[in-house]
């Protein structure tokens, strides 16, 4: 299994078949861990960072965490490959853009990704399709236990797992759920959700996490608090409170749109589909906007000849690095927009 094999398919989390998939695109949990007796990454010299990277890479493989796990040396990877990993949510933007010895270990199904030498020595991630937080928590807990058999993590009786940034200290657990909320956006109620989430100490971000604005119809909701609550408590708040409430609110908005503005909604959805099927050039932003409408149409049963899985895959495969990888060569902006339109026409 290598990076090149990834380009042609979408990860498990984009199958579009997970629970509550009409609203929840994916569930993600991640743990931040650092080795005991070592400075945090930013304070390590380059030699130390190199040794650390080598040691962690070897230990991850020796721990035999998953079938077909492969490792990408990010420092040696070309820009396009790094971008590809960001688009697939396997590494952070920060990890792609830094300039020190670092890497990522990825399982063949892409449900597991372990960043080595990011802000913390290890950032363990489990990504699942739809609403699968309990399963994801189980899995990440087992991964952590297995790694802990070989690695001594920095831990403090009062502050828990110690992290480079105190915003992650304690459990080191960040839970994020990616939501598709087109009806709340369309009816102008999204601001209420954003305010309510912030009141509940949740962060709302865009498609690519930290530093990206919540734009378009996709929102990532994640916990801010990592200290003073158990892992179960943090996950449970999401599972039985935060996410169900937002889902219910979105579904209600969808029903009300269908009831009160049937023709207008139908028109929007089918115009979007027609554009995607006919356009000769298509920017990333426009693609995202139109696909979001079609996804809504599929989910409320107004579009019947397109599969949800196809739409989910298109979200990923039409992004710049994916497009260029699929076509096998680099493209400038204009060429990319043409290639994107052609790619979409073929798939739809």
């Amino acid at each position: 299994m290598t990076l090149a094999d990834l380009t042609q398919r979408a990860g498990e989390w984009l199958r579009g078949a997970g629970p509550l998939h009409d609203v929840v695109i994916s569930s993600r949990v991640r743990l931040a861990r650092n080795l005991a007796g070592m400075p945090f990454l930013a304070r390590c010299g380059e030699q130390q960072q190199r040794e650390l990277e080598k040691k962690l890479r070897e230990d991850i493989f020796a721990a035999n965490l998953a079938k077909g796990m492969f490792y990408v040396d990010i420092n040696a990877a070309c820009e396009l490959d790094r971008q590809l990993l960001v688009e697939r949510h396997l590494i952070s933007r920060q990890h792609a853009e830094s300039n020190h010895p670092r890497g990522v270990a990825v399982s063949s199904s892409e449900t597991i990704a372990i960043m080595v030498n990011e802000e913390d020595h290890l950032r363990i991630q489990v990504l699942r399709s739809g609403m699968q937080l309990a399963d994801a928590e189980d899995q990440i807990n087992r991964l952590d236990d297995t790694l802990e058999e070989r690695l001594d993590f920095a831990f403090h009786s009062r502050y828990g797992y110690l992290t480079a940034c105190p915003t992650n200290v304690g459990t080191g657990l960040r839970v994020s759920v990616m939501l598709h909320l087109p009806a709340l956006k369309m009816t102008g109620r999204i601001d209420k959700v954003i305010h309510a989430a912030r009141d509940m100490h949740m962060a709302i971000r865009g498609l690519y996490g930290e530093g990206t604005e919540a734009s378009g119809d996709f929102f990532q909701v994640s916990n801010q608090t990592t200290l003073g609550k158990s892992e179960d408590q943090i996950i449970e708040e999401f599972r039985s409170h935060t996410v169900p409430n937002i889902i219910e609110y979105e579904r209600r908005a969808r029903r009300s749109l269908q009831k009160r503005q049937t023709a207008k909604l139908d028109d929007k959805v089918h115009r979007a589909l027609a554009l995607l099927r006919a356009a000769r050039t298509m920017s990333s932003d426009e693609t995202l906007y139109l696909l979001s409408l079609v996804r809504l149409g599929v989910n409320i049963g107004r579009v019947e000849d397109v599969k949800l899985e196809t739409i989910n895959q298109l979200f990923l495969l039409t992004q710049p690095a994916h497009l260029q990888k699929t076509l096998g060569h680099e493209l400038n902006d204009n060429e990319r927009d043409e290639a994107r339109a052609q790619f979409i026409r073929k798939r739809l």
Binding site: G37, R43, E148, A154, H156, R158, G160, T225, L227
Partner: protein
């Protein structure tokens, strides 16, 4: 609302309501006159500035707090405020007095871990700190190309790891 500054002809952009001994005084000032009265308005204050202000206001010895440093990794607290990243695990103890307030602010008032504890419960704090110290010395030895000392330090680290 008035549109002119109380003190000069410039447009008023700062509206201040002061309540002193139950008496309400309203002032309408331009930015310059406001600054002259010690009121500064900055639209985009960097987070590090806010944190620094928070530290300075939350304890009487704010200045002292900012100049604290970690005996092991050498990180100064003011450096942490600037970069928002700590230098080593020992910083949580070295900066504890100032960090607790920040942690409580970030984590809904909590500063006690309630989650998972590693099965091995980590090596004890003393050993961890000894390790950190040796590693810091090792980095120093390599920097001045004292390879003999570096080799000796590596041996010591290895010995400690075995314990």
């Amino acid at each position: 609302m008035k549109s002119k500054c109380d003190n000069c002809d410039r447009p008023a952009t700062v509206y201040l309501t002061e309540i002193t001994d139950g008496q309400k005084i309203e002032k309408h000032l331009c930015e310059k006159c406001a600054a002259a009265e010690g009121i500064t308005i900055q639209a985009n204050v960097p987070i590090s500035q806010l944190l620094q202000d928070f530290i300075l206001q939350s304890s009487e010895s704010g200045e002292e707090t900012l100049s604290m440093s970690c005996e092991i990794c050498g990180m100064r607290f003011s450096e942490f405020i600037e970069k928002k990243l700590l230098g080593c695990p020992h910083d949580y103890d070295a900066f504890e007095t100032a960090l607790v307030g920040l942690l409580e602010r970030e984590h809904e008032g909590a500063s006690q871990h309630m989650g998972k504890v590693p099965h091995r419960a980590g090596s004890d704090q003393k050993k961890q700190n000894a390790m950190l110290r040796l590693r810091a010395q090792l980095t120093g030895a390599i920097a001045v190309e004292d390879y003999e000392r570096a080799a000796a330090l590596r041996d010591q680290i290895r010995e400690l790891q075995k314990l």
